[in-house]
Symmetry: C5
Subunit: 313 residues, 5 copies
Amino acid sequence: MSWRGILHYAWKSLLYYLLLAVAVYLVHDHFEVAYLSIPFNTVTALSTALAIFLGFKSNSAYERWWEGRKIWGLLVNYSRAWTRQVITMVIPSEEAEAAAVKELQRRMVYRHIAFVHALRVFLRLKHAYNITAQEEIYEETNIYTDIQAFLQKDEFEAFYHKNNPPNFLLELQGEDLRQAFKRGWVSDYRFVKLEDTLVEFNNIQGMSERIKNTPFPRQYSFFSRVFVFIHASLLPFAFVSEMGMATIPVSVMISFVFLALDLVGERIEDPFENKLEDVPLTALSLTIETNVKEQWGDQDFPVKQTTQEGIVL
Amino acid sequence: MSWRGILHYAWKSLLYYLLLAVAVYLVHDHFEVAYLSIPFNTVTALSTALAIFLGFKSNSAYERWWEGRKIWGLLVNYSRAWTRQVITMVIPSEEAEAAAVKELQRRMVYRHIAFVHALRVFLRLKHAYNITAQEEIYEETNIYTDIQAFLQKDEFEAFYHKNNPPNFLLELQGEDLRQAFKRGWVSDYRFVKLEDTLVEFNNIQGMSERIKNTPFPRQYSFFSRVFVFIHASLLPFAFVSEMGMATIPVSVMISFVFLALDLVGERIEDPFENKLEDVPLTALSLTIETNVKEQWGDQDFPVKQTTQEGIVL
Amino acid sequence: MSWRGILHYAWKSLLYYLLLAVAVYLVHDHFEVAYLSIPFNTVTALSTALAIFLGFKSNSAYERWWEGRKIWGLLVNYSRAWTRQVITMVIPSEEAEAAAVKELQRRMVYRHIAFVHALRVFLRLKHAYNITAQEEIYEETNIYTDIQAFLQKDEFEAFYHKNNPPNFLLELQGEDLRQAFKRGWVSDYRFVKLEDTLVEFNNIQGMSERIKNTPFPRQYSFFSRVFVFIHASLLPFAFVSEMGMATIPVSVMISFVFLALDLVGERIEDPFENKLEDVPLTALSLTIETNVKEQWGDQDFPVKQTTQEGIVL
Amino acid sequence: MSWRGILHYAWKSLLYYLLLAVAVYLVHDHFEVAYLSIPFNTVTALSTALAIFLGFKSNSAYERWWEGRKIWGLLVNYSRAWTRQVITMVIPSEEAEAAAVKELQRRMVYRHIAFVHALRVFLRLKHAYNITAQEEIYEETNIYTDIQAFLQKDEFEAFYHKNNPPNFLLELQGEDLRQAFKRGWVSDYRFVKLEDTLVEFNNIQGMSERIKNTPFPRQYSFFSRVFVFIHASLLPFAFVSEMGMATIPVSVMISFVFLALDLVGERIEDPFENKLEDVPLTALSLTIETNVKEQWGDQDFPVKQTTQEGIVL
Amino acid sequence: MSWRGILHYAWKSLLYYLLLAVAVYLVHDHFEVAYLSIPFNTVTALSTALAIFLGFKSNSAYERWWEGRKIWGLLVNYSRAWTRQVITMVIPSEEAEAAAVKELQRRMVYRHIAFVHALRVFLRLKHAYNITAQEEIYEETNIYTDIQAFLQKDEFEAFYHKNNPPNFLLELQGEDLRQAFKRGWVSDYRFVKLEDTLVEFNNIQGMSERIKNTPFPRQYSFFSRVFVFIHASLLPFAFVSEMGMATIPVSVMISFVFLALDLVGERIEDPFENKLEDVPLTALSLTIETNVKEQWGDQDFPVKQTTQEGIVL
C-alpha cells in the first residue's frame, strides 16, 4: 500500500478533514466565535479508547491475514508430501499392472492440482456479506474453467455442478484409494496413511472457509470507523484556540495517522477477496502446480502473471 | 450490531449519561455551585485503568468467540472426513454382504448428522448462570425433536432420555464399528482409524462444553461495568467548568465510546446463547448436513432460514 | 467475586486509603501545610508503569486459569474416549471369556474414575509455597478416602502409600492392558492405541502439576502489590491542593480501581487451591464420573453439592 | 526476588538516582540555576516509548521462561510414559528370556534417568554469550559425574567424550530397541511406538537447546536498559522546579519502579543459567528420578536439597 | 546491535533530527519567529498512535524472527531423529545384504545433511522484494556448491538445475525408501514411519519459505517509518518555546528513542536475509552436520567460522 494506494482509499476522508479544519479556523478566527473551542483534554480522553480499539483491530486483522497465509502454507507442504506419497506408496502387485498404476498415480496427482485451483476459486467467490461500496484498484477473476485441464471430462462435469466442488474432488481421491486397496496396490496401512493426508486437505479447506465465511465481527469494524470519525471531528475544535492557522495542517495530519491505522487493518482483515492485499492465492496455486509437476517429471510449468506493481495475487 | 442494536442495549445508560450531564451543567452554571467541578486529571488517572480492563476484556471476549468458531470449523472438517472414511473404508468381505454394508454406512452417516444437530441443541440449552436480565432482539429455539429424522426410532427414544445425549450417539457409533470389525468389514487397523475420528468428535464436543459451561470470570465483567459507570459519572464534573454547555454532548459522546467498547465485548464473550452475535451454530449445522448428504449422494438439502437482517444464527 | 467478596479481600487496604486521604486533607487544609502537595504529573509517570504491570498480570493470571480449565476439559474428553475404547476394543477371543473380559473392562473403567478423583485430591493438597495469610471465604476439603469405592481393596492400599498416587493408577491400567494383550483380547495394534490414551492422561496430569507447582513468578506479584501501594499513597498528595474535601472520595475510589485490578488477577492466578475462584475440579470430576457411568450403563450418578452461592467448586 | 534480591541487583543504579537527584536539587535551589529545569512533558513523551519497550520485554521474558518450564513439564510426562511403555510393551517371546528382558528394561529405564540428568547439566553449562558481569546470589553446580550411577561403565566413558552427550544416550536407546525387535521382544508396531517416544525426547532436548542458545535479541535488552537510564536521568530535572526537596524521594521512587520492571524481566529471560530465578531443573530432575524409580519398583529416592530460601533450583 | 550497529543504520536520521532542532531553535530564538511554536498536546496525540504502531510492529517482528528460529529448531530435532531412525529401522533381511543396507543408510544420512545446507542456501537467495537500499555491515554468501560433497555426482547435477532443489532431495529420499521396502529392509509399517519424518521436513521447508516469501505487510513498515518521521519533525516545534537551547539535545534524544524502537523491529522482521540479525542458519546447519556425523560415527566435524563480533550467522 503505497501513497497512491492510501490516497485511493482515503481521499474522501482527507477532504472532509481539510474542509472541516478550514471551516473551524475561519469561523473561530475571522468571525471570532470563541466558544467554538473545546479544551484539549476531551480529545485525550477519547484517544485512549481509540488507541485500544485500533491496536486490538490491527492485531486481529493481521492475525486473520497471517492465519490465512499459514493455511495456504500448509497446502504447499502437503501438496508436495501427497505427490511424493502417491509416487512412492502405490506399488503394483505384479509387473503387468505397472502401466495401470502409473495411470492411477497420474490421475491422483493432477486431480490434486485441480483441487488446489478449485479451492482458490471457491474461496474468492463473492458473497453478499463481502460486497462493499469500496471500489478496488485491481481485481482478480477466478473461474472454474481453468481447472478443466487437470480433470477427466466427466469428472469436470460432475464437479462443476456440486454444492461444494473442492470437497467433491477429495471424495474422488478417496474412491481411487479404495480401488487401489482392492487391487492390492496399497496395503491396509498405506491406504489409511494416504487417507490421512486427505484429512489434512479437509482441514485446510475447512480452515480457509472459516476465515472466508466468518468476517471479523462487524461491530468492531463499524465502531472503529465511527470513533475515528468522531475523534477527527473534535480535533480542529481542540486545536483552534491555541494554534490558529497551524490547526489546518496539524489536525489533518494527525487525523490521517489514525485513519491510516484503521485502514491498514481493514484492508487485510478479509484475506480472500480478490484484493491487492489478499493472501496471494493465485501465486501460491501456481507455485504448487510447478512443484507438483516437477515432482511428477513434467516440464510445462505455468507462468506467473504480475500486475503493474509486480504483484502476483 | 448496527445503531439499532447498540441502542437496544445501551439506551438506559445513554439516558443516564444525558440526564447527569444536564443536571451538572444546570447546577454548576445556573445555580453557580462552583465546587461541583473536579480537575480533569482525576479522570485521566481512571481512564488508564479502564483502558487496561477494556482492552483485556475485548481481547479475551474475541478469543472466546473465535475459539468457539474454530471448534465448529473443526466439526465441519471432520464431518466431511468421517463421511468419506465410512464410505471408503468399510468394505464387504464378500459380495453378498454389499447391501448390509451399505445399510450400516447409511446409518453411521445419518447418525453423524444427528450428532451435529444434537450438539447444537445441547450447547444452546439455557443454564441458570447464563440467564441475564437483558432482553434479546432475536432468539433461536433449538429442540431435540428435529433430530428424530436422522435416527432409528428406538435409538431416538434412548437418546432423548440420556444425561448427555450427544455423547450417547458417539457410543452407538463405536458399537457399530465393533460390529463391523467382528464381521470383517473393517480391518483391525481401519477400525482404530475410524475410532480416532470419533475421538476428534469427543474433543470437539468437550471443547464446546468448556466454553459453554465456564463463563468469562464474572469478576472481570462485573468490574468493567462498574468502572465504566464510575468513569462516565465523573466526566461531566471534570468538563463543566471549562466547557459550559458543550459539556452535555461531549461527555455523553465520550461515555458512549467507553460503553460501546464494553458492550461489544460482552455480546460475544459467551458464543452459544441463542443470540444474534452467537457463533452461527444453526447455519453451520445446515452446512454440515448439506455436505454430508452431498457426499452420500442424497439431494434433499435443508434450506437455511434467515432473520430479517439476513443472518442465519 | 461480588461486592461481599471484594470487601472480604480489600477492606484493610480500603481503610488505609480512607485514613490516609482524611489525614492528608486535614493537615493540608486545616493546618495549612501547603508543601504537602505534589504535582499531579508525578502520579501520571507512575501510573503508566503500573498500567503495564497490571495489564500484564491480569493477562497472565487469566491465561494460567484458562489453561488449567483447558487441561481439565481434555480430561473430560479423553475420559469419554477411554471408556468407549475400553468397551469397544477389548474383545474376547472366544465366547467363554466374555465374563472375564467384562470384568476387566469394568475394572479399567472404574479405575479411571478413581484416577480422576485422585488427580483432583493430589492437585488440591496444600504445599508450603501455596499457603498465604489470606483467610478464605469458603474452602473445599479433598481427601483420598472418597476414592476407595472405585478401586479393589489391595489396589487402594498400595495406591494410598505411593509418592505419586495418580501415576500409580496409570501403571495399573498399563499392566491390565499387557494382560489383555497376552490373552489375545486386544491385538498388538489396539494395545498400543489404548496405551496412547494413557499417554494423554500422563500429559494431563503433568500439565496440571506444572501449573500447581510453578506459581506465577513471585517477583511480579510482589512488585505489583508494592506499586499499587505506592501509587495509592501518592494520590491524596497530588489531589489535595486542587480538590479540597473531594480528595477523600475521589482518591479512595481511584485507588480502589487499581487495587481491584490487582486482586482479580491474583485470585485466579493459582487455580488449584480450594478457593471459590478455582477451576471447579470437584464439579468436573463429578461430571466425568456421571458420563463414564452412563457409558458403562450404571445409573447411580453422584449428586453435586453447591455452596450457598450456588457454586460447585 | 525479595527486597534483599532486588537490592542485590539494583543498588548501584539506586545510588546513582539518589546522587543525581540530590545534585540537581542543590544546584537548582541553592545556587539558583533556574535553567536546569525542563518541562515535564519531555518525560511524558519518553515514558510512552519506555512503556512499550518494558511491556513487550516483560511479556517476552515471561514467555521464554514459561516455555522453558513447559518443555521440562513435557519431560516429566514422557518420562513416566516411557517407563510404563518399556515395562508393559517389551514382552519375552518365551519364558526362558524373562530375565534377559527384565535386564534390558532396567537398562533402558535407568538410562533414561541418566538422559534427564545429562540434559540438565548440558543446558546449564556456561557459554561465552551467557556470561555477564552480574554476580549471582546463589549458583548451582552441575556436572556430568553424578550420572555415572545410571549408566554402564563403558557407556559412561563414551558418553563423557561426546560432542552432544544427551543425544548419544538416545542413540543407545534406539540401538537397544533394535536389538529387542530382532529378538522378537517387541513387534514391528511396538518398536516404532517406543521409537516415537524417543522422538519426543529429541524434541524436548532440541527445544531446550533453542532457548539456551538463542538469547532474547540483545538489541532489546540493551536499549531497554539505556532508555531506563535516560528516563531516570531526566526525571529530577523535570520535577525540581515544581517540587523542591520532594524531588529527591519521588524521583528515586519512580525511577526505581521502571528499573524494577526492567530487572524482573531480565532475571527470567534466560531460564537455564544456574540462577535463583531459573526453571528449577534440579528439582524437576529429582522428581523425574523419583517417579521413574517408583514405577520400576525401587525405593532409593533421591533427596532434594534446598537453598537457605527454601528453593530447589 | 551495539552502538556501532545502531549508528550504522541511524546516522542519516540522527543528522536530520540535529539539523532540524538547531534550525528551529535559531529561527525561534534568534530571529524571534514566535509563531513557529506549537503546543505540546499535538505531539501527545500523535505519540499515542505511534505507540500502538511501534508496539504492534516490535511484537510481530519478534514473533516472525522467533518463529523462524523455532522452525530451524525443529530441523535440528528431526535431523537427529531421522538419523537414528535410518540407523535402527532399516534392517537387512539376510546377512549377505548387510553391506548394501549400510551403503543405503549412509546415502540417506548424508543426503539429509545436503538437504539442510540446500535449504539454507535456498532461503538466503535474494529476491527482488527483499532488496533494500540499506547497506549491510556484514553479509553472508550462501552457494549450492558446498553441498557437492554430500551427494552422489549425478544427483548433484540434477539437483542443481531443479526449480526447487531441497524438495528434490526429499523426493530422492522417498525413492530410496521405496527401494528399501521392495527389498524387504523396512516393513510396510516402518516404511510409512520414515516417510512421516519426511513429511516433517516438508513442513519445515514450507514454513521457512512462508516466512521468506511473505514479508511483513509493507503498509505497516512504510507507515511506521512515516509516522516516526512526522513525530520527530514536530518535536522541536513543540519544545522550543518552553525549553530554549535544551530543545536540541532533548528532541534529538527522544526522536532517537522512537527511531530505535522502529529499527530494532525492522532489523529482525525478515530473518533469512544474510544479515547480522538473521536466524543463524549457518551456525545451525553446522550444528546439524556435526550431530548427524557424530551419530553416524564420523569424526570430520565442520568448523564454525565467526565474524569479528564473534557471531556465526
